[in-house]
């Protein structure tokens, strides 16, 4: 078992939380993992990515080689496209449909989704809407993780456990909201 996943989004959208939950759940599942993150300057509203590699055998590189990524999981549609050279021929592109437009020359939405649909295995999720329905747009990131969970190959139980541990100090309400988001994402979409 080996999964190479690029997590994408804009600084502040919760990419690193997805990475932290996945990383902890993978470790709890007895898998090897490497997870490269972006800290620092780009976290101020810039493009942010994380390379997450999970495997049942040791992993060498902290970075995913171009052309071999199994999945791009993005909280923002234009950011999903930024990492296309990493995606393997039959890799999956899973993205939220909600755009984050903090630049003047943000592309036309129709063109954007046309490009996304060119990838054979693509899934577009209205994670923002789902997250709002269950209580807060802030958990869009966990909706996305839930949607991709089956493909990632880590059990929901481990993901929920990781959410409990990571968000535990923020209180039971926050934990439950994030777990609900995971499940809503999982039930809303089957990949």
């Amino acid at each position: 078992m080996k999964r190479d996943i690029i997590l994408a989004g804009v600084g502040g959208q919760g990419i690193l939380s997805i990475a932290a939950v996945l990383g902890m759940a993978a470790a709890e599942s007895g898998l090897y993992l490497k997870q490269a993150e972006v800290h620092g300057m780009s976290q101020r509203g810039g493009a942010v990515e994380s390379h997450l590699r999970i495997s049942d055998s040791p992993i060498s590189s902290d970075l995913i080689p171009q052309g071999s990524c199994d999945m791009i999981l993005s909280v923002e549609p234009m950011e999903a496209l930024r990492y296309l050279p990493f995606l393997s021929g039959d890799g999956w592109l899973v993205t939220s449909s909600r755009t984050f437009e903090n630049i003047d020359d943000y592309p036309d939405k129709e063109d954007l989704f046309k490009e996304i649909r060119k990838v054979k295995n693509h899934v577009i999720i209205d994670a923002y809407k789902i997250a709002r329905e269950i209580g807060s747009q802030k958990v869009s990131n966990m909706v996305m993780l839930g949607a991709a969970s089956e493909y990632v190959g880590i059990s929901m139980e481990k993901l929920e456990g990781a959410v409990s541990r990571l968000f535990g100090r923020k209180g039971e309400e926050v934990v439950q909201l994030n777990i609900n988001a995971l499940n809503a994402g999982k039930n809303g979409v089957k990949i």
Partner: protein, 528 residues
């Protein structure tokens, strides 16, 4: 796996804690910040207790670390690569004094300049100081080499550099811990003149440093950190330093390559080891993250009979971070990339947060400067450097910590009026205060705006030494009371703020305007 999952930075922090650390000294700087933060959060640090407060800058951190070492205890000093420039005086001389308790200096380099002004390679500094340098490839190695670094420091009597790069600093993986060992007892140096670098004593110490080089070579050959891995195909030999080793292994596994490999994680690299390796293979490819240091030394200056490839002959790019793709290309492995980035994808540069106090300060400054035209604002290192980007286009320089004040002074000396410096609060106490003193002493016409958001913002909101001290510091340095002003950077005060800046721009002396409003990121975290 039954380990912790840690960032490379955190692995160093845990490694130091488990190796009997007594104090960590640092100034925040990407990608090194998380080392201190990890130790600050640890239970160990609270219980022992370990020194975990931030320093004013990297030089004060290095010196305090050396002081702790003088007293016999183990000190960790952490900084980003350019921080080592600030600390260089103390660093180079610490190699001459040597240490008493173990001292490990972490230099976190940033190839590709993800969050930096340059991509200098700290291994040069290690070579310059003639001390051992360790360069881990994995989080586990980072953990273990931190402990080994303390041991090596105590056995050689020298500070040891641990050189990492952004990728390792900010990548997470499993780390299995060793047993936690105790701290050193307080113990003075056996020779109480060891740290007195008067010329006669310094000459003696320097000769001692020179004579210890043979021992360092031997350590590098026997520690296991440098090793030759046999391969069936000697048509090429791979020399891989630090993390570059990971990329080679990744690519070799995929393409079923089996070349001999020399993995390097400890410097100085013994010439014999290089010699043995080069003689085994037809040609050599050198993979190093940062500058072509090993490659250059193998090439030498005379015509070379060996074929050495790497960053110098175009096999790899001369600048920037390595990755599996670049290594693949260097090894002539066919590359299949099914898709390109669509042309509609636009750059999304970082930006000042909505509601940031720097924005209101820049809006006031820009309008006040309108009558004079552009090109008069010297700035510094921090979130406010983003004022260089549209829509603000508010600054004309960003060079090094503190340079805003002194460059404005120099430009003013040349006759530029008005000359403005924009500097953050933490940067001001890091390296701006001394420059301001220069201006005060000469009564140089400059307008210094200290954009005080009461935190070290760009690195994630660490405590700023400047908080609640700026007025006192400026008064103490001799700034005149009537030209030491405080503004509240809010939209509703815009007109008053603009007037205040305009008034000070025409003053033929030193003006300091403290633009004070807390960072909205730290403010919102505090309210939670």
């Amino acid at each position: 796996m039954t380990g912790l999952v840690l960032l490379g930075d955190e692995a160093i922090g845990q490694g130091a804690l488990d190796a009997g650390l007594s104090g960590v000294y640092a100034y925040p700087g990407t990608p090194s910040t998380e080392i201190m933060e990890y130790i600050q959060r640890s239970k160990d640090a609270a219980e022992r207790p370990i020194h975990t407060r931030w320093s004013a800058n990297e030089k004060t951190a290095m010196e305090a670390g050396l002081g702790m070492s003088y007293a016999g205890k183990r000190a960790l000093v952490c900084m980003k690569h350019v921080g080592l420039n600030v600390a260089a005086d103390a660093f180079i001389n610490a190699a001459i004094t040597g240490v008493n308790g173990g001292m490990v200096v972490v230099a976190a380099d940033d190839p590709s300049m993800h969050s930096s002004q340059n991509e200098q390679d700290s291994r040069f500094y290690g070579k310059f100081a003639m001390i051992p340098v360790l360069e881990p490839a994995t989080q586990q190695e980072a953990y273990q080499m931190t402990r080994y670094g303390f041991d090596l420091s105590e056995s050689t009597g020298l500070p040891v550099m641990l050189r990492i790069t952004t990728r390792l600093a900010h990548s997470r993986s499993e780390v299995v811990r060793l047993e936690n060992r105790g701290e050193n007892e307080l113990k003075l140096p056996a020779d109480l003149t060891q740290f007195i670098l008067l010329p006669a004593l310094a000459r003696k110490r320097y000769r001692l440093l020179l004579s210890s080089q043979e021992k360092l070579d031997k350590e590098s050959a026997t520690s296991g950190n440098n090793r030759i891995e046999a391969g069936e195909d000697p048509s090429r030999g791979i020399i891989a330093c630090g993390m570059a080793y990971n990329y080679y292994r990744e690519v070799a596994d995929e393409a079923s390559l089996d070349h001999p490999v020399l993995k390097i994680s400890q410097y100085p690299v013994p010439v014999e080891l290089l010699n043995d390796f080069v003689l085994q293979v037809d040609r050599v490819v050198v993979l190093e993250e940062g500058a072509p240091i090993i490659e250059e030394s193998l090439n030498g200056v005379l015509e070379n009979v060996y074929q050495i490839g790497g960053r110098l002959n175009g096999l790899l790019p001369r600048d920037g971070e390595l990755n599996p793709l670049l290594v693949k290309k260097a090894l002539k492995i066919p590359v299949k990339i099914p898709r390109e980035v669509p042309s509609i994808v636009k750059n999304r540069p970082p930006a000042l947060c909505k509601g940031c106090s720097h924005i209101d300060m820049y809006n006031a400054l820009n309008e006040a400067l309108e009558p004079y035209g552009p090109g008069r604002v010297f700035s510094d290192i921090g979130c406010y450097t983003l004022g260089a980007l549209p829509p603000y286009n508010a600054i004309n320089s960003c060079v090094d910590m503190g340079a805003s004040v002194t460059m404005a002074k120099g430009a003013s000396d040349a006759g530029l009026r008005p000359a403005v410096a924009v500097i953050g609060d933490s940067t001001f106490t890091h390296s701006g205060m001394t420059g301001l003193l220069d201006a005060v002493v000469e009564q140089t016409p400059v307008t210094v705006i200290i954009s005080d958001n009461s935190t070290t913002g760009m690195t994630g909101g660490q405590q700023s030494h400047a908080t609640d001290r700026l007025l006192g510091i400026c008064r103490g340095l001799g700034v005149e009371e009537e030209h030491l002003r405080v503004m509240n950077p809010l939209k509703k005060h815009h007109d008053a703020n603009k007037r205040m800046v305009a008034e000070e721009l025409v003053y033929e002396g030193v003006s300091v305007i403290i633009s004070q409003r807390e960072c909205i990121q730290t403010a919102s975290r505090r309210k939670k």
